[in-house]
Symmetry: C2
Subunit: 363 residues, 2 copies
């Protein structure tokens, strides 16, 4: 059965179905002109929005509807994780091609709900429309926290240690695998990398603990690639940094499958986006408490560098010395079409940080 056969009312009924009816903090959910909800006393509102577009951020041939539902929320959850905030409510805008099957929406919603429930997020509003061509998903995620305890991009101090959770570069490899699969069954390593791209796990517990225990000075999630996201911290904190390339954490699957000589692997891990790990800095005197906390985090943390004074700039070093930054550029999907060196760069490698990025850091 196609979406156009059930109409908009039928569609909305399916999307709304099976969400918990109400939470203590929701006074009016779906079903009025706007939702009404309450923050806990003394808390501030934390808001973020992310857009996922068919054939820009994903292709329906290689992501399942459930994965897409989960990922649509995961990218937002990762933003709140990077603030150390607690997610609460979401609003969803869905523009859906009427050629899609109703089953697609049911599966998409099942995925969305599974991740929402895991993190205590309720759906409080939305808008739907038919789409002339492509599927468009925009989710606004609202959360809360105390503004003075949250973690920002500013706040890094020279001398701070630089840490990252989990491993980097898996997602970009997973994307390549997803695009190049020809129906063959993936190996366990390939499956790991695919999952890292298609179903990323936002680091909410880590983010919240770092904020509440004041173990970090500045934090960001790695969505555009370590290099680009570190640049945001450095710009907003008015500091420089050094990253030790060989310290960049790479998974076993990454090490096994990355193309080129093993020593070059860190470049993929440095440039690949959509890792949804947390990059943060922490004063050395907090290291014992930080590492004690980190024992409870399955993703783990790795010290990859140090915050330096502004004049130092951002320097990536490998065993031979500093790396030429021009070899490590990011990706701009608006300009991709007219830049010959970007031709063939896959969909899915679009920037994820939108307005959140500071403007002007790319010279």
């Amino acid at each position: 059965m196609k979406i156009r056969e059930i109409g908009e009312f039928g569609l909305i009924a399916r999307i709304k179905k099976d969400w918990p009816a109400s939470f203590p903090q929701i006074f009016q959910g779906i079903g009025d002109d706007a939702a009404v909800s309450s923050l806990l006393p003394g808390n501030d509102l934390v808001s973020t929005v992310d857009l996922l577009i068919e054939d820009v951020h994903f292709e329906l041939s290689w992501i399942t509807p459930q994965q897409l539902g989960r990922k649509s929320l995961a990218v937002n959850l990762s933003d709140l994780a990077a603030m150390g905030a607690t997610p609460r409510w979401m609003l969803i805008s869905l523009a859906i091609p009427s050629r899609l099957e109703v089953q697609f929406i049911d599966d998409f919603c099942a995925g969305l709900k599974s991740l929402a429930e895991a993190h205590g997020v309720s759906l409080i509003g939305g808008d739907t429309s038919s789409s002339p061509y492509r599927l468009f998903i925009s989710i606004t995620l609202l959360g809360e926290g105390k503004k003075e305890s949250l973690l920002y991009r500013h706040g890094a101090q020279p001398g701070d240690d630089l840490y990252v959770t989990g491993t980097l570069g898996d997602s970009i490899l997973g994307l390549r695998l997803a695009r190049n699969r020809k129906g063959q069954s993936p190996s366990p390593q390939e499956r790991f990398l695919l999952e890292r791209h298609l179903d990323p796990a936002p680091r909410l517990e880590v983010g919240k603990t770092l904020a509440e225990k004041r173990l970090a000075g500045a934090m960001i999630d790695v969505s555009d690639g370590l290099l680009a996201d570190l640049a945001h911290i450095c710009e907003e904190s008015r500091v420089g940094a050094v990253v030790w390339a060989e310290k960049i954490p790479r998974s076993e699957a990454f090490r096994a499958l990355v193309p080129g000589p093993a020593g070059e692997g860190w470049k993929w891990a440095l440039r690949g986006g959509e890792d949804y790990e947390l990059l943060f800095c922490s004063p050395p005197e907090k290291a014992p408490e930080l590492h004690a906390q980190a024992k409870g985090w399955p993703c783990g943390i790795t010290r990859i560098g140090r915050i330096e004074p502004l004049a130092h700039g951002v320097v990536i070093r490998d065993e031979k010395g500093p790396i030429d930054p021009s070899r490590l550029k990011g990706y701009d999907h608006f300009s991709a079409a007219i830049r010959s060196d970007r031709k063939g760069l896959p969909p899915g490698r679009a920037r994820r940080s939108g307005f959140k990025k500071a403007v002007g850091e790319r010279k």
Copy 2:
């Protein structure tokens, strides 16, 4: 200059440009993983989202970029007006075809900003992407109010008078004019109707006063057409209603230009959507205070009917008696393509209420 020539960073810089740097209630605006803002003490959060899609809700051949910017926010402001809430912050998702001119975005943002400034709304976040084909705009508007003072769709009582602000039906006529213009200069009446469709004025002051002075029991904005929106109030309040067709307020321009015999004009006014007027009910004993307040509202208010007990149903009466409801159906743009009686129905007549509508009211 095309969007693709300035890239995503250039685009974001243009969108962010010239917004007020900070407001007292904004602790962190654009430029971090999420925005952090504070409600006034004792206030609750009011949230809504609306989606506008090229060739579904508008065509670029008949709406200017400035009008589109204003309307993208206006439809959201109207939702907060219908709650009696105060708008504060917005987040915007923009998927932009790279074929568009940079000037288009500058003009769109100028329009958006002009309406935002008029209502004290700040941009605190967003996401942008290229779009393979069409322009997609999703705006999340956040506001505040006290949950016990806000106005909902429930709360209507039998015996309440039913009122609407302004005039109805102008927008649907304006849409038809917009679609059928062949470059000729519009008459003053046509210009009025076009403006009513392309640049609607959300009734925030009316909504807020009704809520704060407790002059209304239930309220909704007229986005899907009076009939559909009244059905929401009746369903949520578990009441019926009578509407006196001849009382439905119609503008001079509407009366002059509406096709068909004059006596049939109210059907257009009843069914046409996107009026963005407020429909509310008020106990008769509050009428003197209500009318005293209404003297300060340029849009005016008109009593068009009465709330009845549930068993009465929703009845529209003209001078000959009750109208057959099947003659007054709404529009579902998902099903439009396969319903022969809907063929030719123009873009721009898509439903605007999304998830806000109750499910199941169309039998």
